[in-house]
Point group: D2
Chain length 101, copies 4
């Protein structure tokens, strides 16, 4: 399955890149394939490994903050592998050209 | 923590209440406090029990469908209990009257 | 259509009820049917009136804050009126009893 | 502001790339800077131009389908330009290396 998630603390100032980079260290070390975008990170994996990763990031942000907002969007399609690249390729084929990524 | 979630199959027709009610049977039996609204269900609990419940609902819908879309929004604030009722009360106190629920 | 939305400032402390109640004053005055829940507000209306309302709330929060996070989830089904109550009734009928709201 | 959005029909089968590519044609022609990812599209612009674009895509999908689900996540930070690239750069600087995009 694919899961996009966004995690940030509430009440720790307006600059969040310190917290986002802490999450990304954890994601990068997890070994799961992922893609970052300006609004979140998309990972691909089975339910348990994906959710374990998101929990780890969520708890790492909560460690020294008081309130954390986390949003997760899951697209789970049976029998589909490598959806991380396939979804974009499939759309670019239909549009007939490369799109801005 | 509070978690609102919405789970539905893609490609099984436009009427989803059959699937939503299957989720709600599972939620109702879980024992976790919850509130349904027209766009999802909000539950309150610890990370593991909330995520175990959402996984159960997600897999129940995926059982006889091919693709499932699940969205989860988490608000995790340290030391806050009974947020399910407290958040609404706190806003109604500030607004100075009861609001439509 | 139905639209659930959540609007809050980032970097203004952990307590958000002051900002949420400012939004709810605007929503309540709009005349559009709505329901609040612990994680957001669901309104029913046509695209333009719903989006005009959300814009008003978003700008009201942005007025004296530096960064605002807004999430909107839309369910637009042709020919359906009074979805705010109908969706819950339809699920309760299938489950066979009243659910926690 | 930045807005990530995802639009898809409910009840039109499990393959959605036909609909996603229709949206992307509209986005690409809009002239607004955007980035696609496996779970949605992020655009940058002022509230009115961004919302006009999302409305156009939403209505294009609704044209020959019966039910459409649209999710929008907005990050609006005063005085920030070119957030589409800046947010990722800022995180990569903190992490100290390039990340998977």
């Amino acid at each position: 399955m694919l899961a996009e998630f966004t995690i940030f603390p509430i009440g720790e100032g307006v600059s969040l890149s310190k917290y986002v980079s802490r999450s990304l260290e954890i994601i990068d070390k997890s070994g799961l394939p992922y893609r970052i975008n300006p609004m979140g990170t998309v990972v691909e994996g089975e339910w348990d490994e994906v959710m374990e990763l998101i929990k780890k990031c969520h708890l790492a942000i909560l460690e020294d903050t008081e309130r954390v907002s986390t949003a997760i969007k899951i697209d789970d399609r049976k029998g589909v592998k490598n959806a991380l690249d396939r979804k974009i390729k499939s759309v670019e084929e239909k549009v007939g050209r490369e799109l801005s990524k």
